[in-house]
């Protein structure tokens, strides 16, 4: 029983190792890319559209609604990044239904990589919205004494994202592995169902937290309305 799918090495040549984590990630990416290419080959705009296209549209509009709810005014700009995060983590949780599949997010390498993506994306979108000066000035809010705390907060947020996802997925996989050696019939199935539920919740939490961090970084404070200016309209 291993701590993470990194330990299962399927092919190695020199220092290049193909472990179960990498293969599972590639498999998931292939399924997503080929599946969406197959579905979006013939997009229909009318009433009659294929059910797979309907399914994709439900997913996309759902994610857009959530992004808008967090406070990002134009969800299309962030849909690519946040949607991919959610779909990858959710897909890796759902695929545990297949026997013998270990979710790639049960390895600290994958979750650290995803958290690093968020760590890079937050200043990227912040600078895109507010410019370099505006974004760096936000570290001095509310007072410039808070600068070290803001920086440390950024780093600890990233670490927490990685460890939270890793801990949840790894514990699910480990409990199932342990129970399979003890009571191999009904109980592991219940635990797999619980693992599915927590996997989906963790996917939602990961992407919503990324959206909240990006929203905090791109928030442009509107100027407060001057009391006397209302009379000019009439």
């Amino acid at each position: 029983m291993h701590l993470s799918p990194d330990a299962v090495v399927l092919w190695s040549h020199g220092f290049v190792k193909l472990n179960a984590t990498i293969l599972a990630t590639w498999g998931l990416t292939l399924v997503f890319a080929v599946g969406s290419w197959l579905i979006t080959r013939k997009l229909a705009g009318g009433i009659r559209r294929s059910r797979w296209q309907n399914f994709l549209e439900i997913v996309i509009t759902g994610i857009e609604g959530q992004i808008k709810g967090v406070g990002l005014a134009e969800p299309k700009k962030y849909l690519g990044f946040l949607g991919t995060l959610f779909l990858f983590v959710a897909g890796s949780a759902l695929a545990t239904v297949l026997p013998g599949f270990e979710p790639p997010t049960a390895s600290l390498s994958t979750t650290a990589a995803l958290a690093l993506c968020v760590f890079v994306a937050v200043p990227f979108y912040g600078i895109l919205e507010k410019g370099v000066g505006g974004y760096l000035k936000s570290y001095l809010k509310p007072t410039f004494f808070m600068l070290p705390f803001n920086v440390i907060g950024e780093l600890s947020r990233t670490l927490a994202l990685a460890v939270r996802l890793f801990g949840n997925m790894m514990s699910g996989a480990m409990i199932i592995a342990i129970l399979l050696t003890i009571t191999p019939f009904i109980f592991p199935i219940l635990m797999t169902a619980l693992g599915l539920l927590t996997g989906m919740v963790q996917a939602y939490i990961f992407s919503i937290l990324a959206a909240v961090y990006i929203a905090a970084a791109t928030k442009v404070r509107q100027a407060a309305p001057v009391p006397g200016a209302v009379q000019a309209k009439s």
Binding site: L3, V163, R164, I205, L209
Partner: protein, 93 residues
């Protein structure tokens, strides 16, 4: 008691205590958070989307402290550096 036995004993006991104590605080806090969310939902059912989303984000924050304790326990049991060091020492002898 030589150092090998001491390291093994301490790791096992502390791994158990870490998870045991580490999950009590977050469980209580999550209970209070869900209770407050239920009360708000009962008062304002139209805001259920925002309330649910904020509840989940808050629960994730609280859950992470429990996950930190769990990860420390796992490290002590499966990836214990002190145990590995002592094992390589006795293997080398």
């Amino acid at each position: 008691m030589d150092s090998m036995t001491l390291i093994a004993m301490t790791s096992i006991i502390i791994a158990g205590i870490t998870t045991g104590f580490g999950t009590m605080g977050p469980a209580l806090a999550e209970g209070k958070a869900v209770a407050a969310a239920m009360a708000s939902l009962a008062q304002q059912p139209d805001a259920s989307a925002t309330l649910t989303r904020t509840l989940f984000v808050g629960l994730a924050m609280i859950e992470s402290t429990a996950i930190y304790c769990f990860v420390v326990s796992m490290i002590l049991i499966f990836a214990n550096p002190f145990w590995n060091h002592v094992i390589t020492q006795t293997a080398g002898k």
